[in-house]
Symmetry: C2
Subunit: 243 residues, 2 copies
């Protein structure tokens, strides 16, 4: 029997934001692979499963193990939080299975940017850009170029991985780059631990964002010149109202 | 009794990609408001509901009616396909309820860009930009500026509303703008009617994209210089593999 790998985005954290398709795939699987933080979020679905957990930076090994299991005939679910195709495992998994004939089906999920935007109100609405400040896998020069381009072209900007212990000043650096094109009164929002325990959110100006202490579980959304606050919800209007 | 409005993204179309939270909110509602195409996609959930449908360009009226129903005490679900905050109704609804004390809760959904990306493989992975070519609500000069900026900064680019009857040549125009920065052999993908009846998808080069006949139900993803095809799946690698 030939196995299969489902590459699944389980959404931001809470089980009621996982799609039925993803739940069904997990139930069908005998093996579930993922980073420990993410498999823990769905631990009640894993009772009768073989669970493959590898730490961060061991993603390639995790994919190899998943491919091997599927080649041996297992149905495997490879779990990412959010959407598996947004800074998730889908790309690497397909690459690692290049020489295998195992089928890979990617099941989309609600990404952190969408969950955080909903928590804040409706800050995206318009064209938006998603940028990670982690330079672990992307050279900083490229990140800098994207921050410049996105701010200059008035995209709403969602920032993943704004900070970590090793990169404590990256959000400040990013704000300094974007300050050329973004007014200091522009409204921004953050959500920390979105749809998880100890969720926090807040609204701040672009000027305040520079000194904001984010961590790697924080998602930041930077509005554009039209973004406004309505009853504590962040909204970027899109021109419908006049119609 | 005070009512409430849930502003819901129902995902690309199939019911198994709607979150449980969204399903629960719809079940709890006595009134469901939406554009007819979207309420039709979930018609089997609407049997015992009052359904408010207004045509396109009557979005403000639809919101007003929803707010009024909630003020009268109803629980109302305002439906967008995909995610309600991505070119959806969330922003307008919050604006239209500015003077009301009705509570609005936005429930995120799987947006078309995430669903289409999953269908194609893993083309996003990296930083990406989402741009609509519809100039109904955004001036074309702004769209042009964003196309230039996103292509120059090597974002993966997802294009919503690439074409319509009135805007038959917009995708061609957009490609001509981006051609300054995107190599003609860059791999792109499209999905038409994603997760709906008559779904189609395909891979093409950036050169071919210029002459591609898209419609308003097509989502296009333009890769970057590293995007490649692995067993018919479009993948943008993210540097994990070497670790």
């Amino acid at each position: 029997m030939k196995g299969k790998i489902y590459c699944i985005g389980t959404g931001p954290g809470k089980e009621d934001l996982i799609s039925e398709r993803a739940l069904k795939a997990i139930k069908e699987s005998s093996v579930v692979a993922g980073y420990g933080v993410y498999t823990d979020l769905i631990s009640n679905l894993l009772e009768d499963k073989e669970v493959i957990v590898t730490p961060m930076k061991q993603e390639a090994l995790r994919c190899e193990m998943a491919v091997k299991k599927a080649e041996e005939g297992s149905i495997v679910s490879m779990i990412s939080s959010g959407d598996a195709g947004v800074y998730g495992m889908a790309g690497l998994l397909i690459e690692m299975a290049e020489k295998s004939d195992v089928e890979i089906e990617v099941i989309p999920g609600i990404s952190a940017v969408l969950a955080a935007a909903a928590k804040l109100g409706a800050p995206l609405t318009h064209d938006f850009a998603v940028i990670s400040l982690s330079d672990l896998l992307t050279p900083w020069e490229k990140i800098e170029k994207r921050l410049k381009a996105a701010s200059e072209a008035e995209f709403i900007i969602a920032i993943y991985n704004p900070s970590s212990k090793k990169r404590a000043d990256y959000l400040r650096k990013a704000c300094e780059i974007m300050a050329e094109h973004i007014d200091e009164n522009t409204l921004c929002g953050y959500v920390r631990n979105c749809e998880r325990e100890n969720e926090e959110k807040g609204i701040l100006t672009f000027k305040e964002l520079k000194d904001f202490q984010a961590d790697m579980f924080t998602l930041i959304i930077i509005g554009n010149s039209t973004t406004k606050l309505i009853k504590n919800q962040l909204v970027t209007p899109r021109g419908y109202k006049g119609i």
